[in-house]
């Protein structure tokens, strides 16, 4: 991990942008997937309606 970060810090700006893209998209999908699970489970298990 340390060597990856070292390489990225010394990489070209475009490669750094690609790394931010990969990390960013994974982060956004993962976070929204967590929200999805919360909503889905709440609706499935909650039952009681407003």
């Amino acid at each position: 991990m340390d060597s990856l970060m070292y390489n990225l810090k010394n990489a070209s700006t475009t490669v750094q942008a690609l790394a931010v893209t990969a990390g960013g998209l994974i982060g956004v999908f993962a976070t929204l997937a967590a929200f999805f699970l919360i909503i889905w489970l709440s609706v499935k298990l909650g039952g009681k309606k407003a």
Partner: protein, 358 residues
């Protein structure tokens, strides 16, 4: 700059493109470029626009307050009824990252490129927030691009969608199941979202937290006056101050250059890639769905944060393709997901970029 200011005011009045922002921005641009620029600074004393800039933009207060107002306006109900729509709020952030890569190829450094890419969040306050942290000098053109293209969503999205989908796909019907949403879910959702965001990307908490605070006020059911105040008086007052203060960042020496033209061009690219990302993601999901459960791929385009404009545009397109095809609630579910996706994407960028360039 007088011409630029006049064009923005003309767009606001004649074309009604985001008039609440473009008009104050245009007038602010004229004010700050008048001789001596007294409204900014004169003989060592700060003018009123510099006071507003230091008190509302430089410390990110205005975008945060706008988020409280926006949070109070959002009803996550359509998302709770179709939770899968949340993934379109992630896919349609693709434009942010694609544009960031393009910006680095055009010679911008990573922080500037990230700020330009965030135009693709289709979310003015997030764009201002990130640009203010990473590229203060580019705040003017980035803000103008963000708000201008948000107003142009009805012109930008339809041709991109038509290019990427067949008539048959655009005619897909989606069944909407009307169901109630537990009140406790509506109340706990903003709290849980804020906490998760705080653990995943702590730097995004001001953005997410203020949005969700506004939403909690709305959904609590016991703060109706505060909710109405946030949705109306707070939103209008801060929008007024935000607009004219952004305009004051458009001084000729910083705005009239090639970079501004490139940023305006890349803003358009960002919106196009956002739309394409959402549509193509929906088409990919359709590969795995049975025939009767297919998603209308236009729904994917609503994953941008321009709420509720994008949802309305897609419903209009669906009705034009086939009279009586109602996909509005799915579109709005996807659209409110875009609100979440854009601030999470903003938080990711704020968290990741400093890891690489300090």
């Amino acid at each position: 700059m007088y011409v630029v200011g006049a064009i923005l005011i003309w767009l606001a009045i004649k074309k009604e493109y985001e008039p609440m922002l473009l008009l104050p921005i245009g007038f602010g641009a004229i004010l700050v470029n008048l001789p001596l620029s007294v409204v900014w600074e004169h003989e060592g004393s700060a003018g009123f626009l510099k006071v507003l800039y230091d008190g509302g933009i430089a410390n990110e207060l205005f975008p945060i307050l706008i988020f409280i107002a926006v949070g109070a306006m959002i009803d996550f109900g359509p998302l709770f009824k179709n939770p899968f729509m949340i993934f379109f709020g992630a896919a349609a952030q693709f434009g942010i990252f694609a544009t960031m890569i393009i910006a680095t190829l055009l010679g911008f450094d990573l922080k500037q490129a990230a700020s330009i890419g965030i135009i693709g969040a289709a979310d003015g306050p997030t764009a201002i927030y990130v640009a203010n942290k990473f590229a203060k000098d580019l705040l003017g053109p980035i803000s103008v691009a963000a708000y201008s293209y948000m107003a142009l969503v009805p012109l930008i999205q339809p041709p991109v969608i038509k290019l990427l989908t067949s008539k048959k796909e655009r005619r897909i019907h989606m069944v909407y199941h009307e169901s109630g949403v537990p009140k406790w879910l509506k109340i706990s959702f903003p709290i849980v979202v804020t906490m998760i965001s705080g653990f995943v990307a702590p730097i995004s908490v001001p953005l997410v937290g203020s949005l969700m605070f506004g939403n909690l006020i709305r959904e609590s059911g016991v703060l109706e006056r505060l909710s109405q105040t946030a949705q109306n008086e707070l939103a209008y007052l801060i929008t007024l101050l935000l607009g004219i203060t952004i305009g004051s960042s458009m001084r000729a020496d910083k705005f009239l250059n090639v970079n501004t033209l490139m940023i305006l061009g890349m803003g358009l690219v960002a919106f196009v890639f956002d739309t394409a990302g959402g549509v193509l993601f929906a088409k990919m999901i359709n590969l795995f769905l049975p025939h009767d459960k297919k998603i209308n791929p236009m729904i994917g385009a609503c994953g941008i944060s321009a709420f509720p404009m994008s949802g309305r545009v897609i419903q209009k397109m669906a009705a034009e393709e086939e009279k009586g095809n109602i996909i509005l609630m799915h579109a709005i579910g996807s659209n409110v997901s875009g609100q979440l996706g854009s601030i999470i994407a903003g938080g990711m960028v704020l968290a990741l970029v400093p890891l690489l360039v300090g």
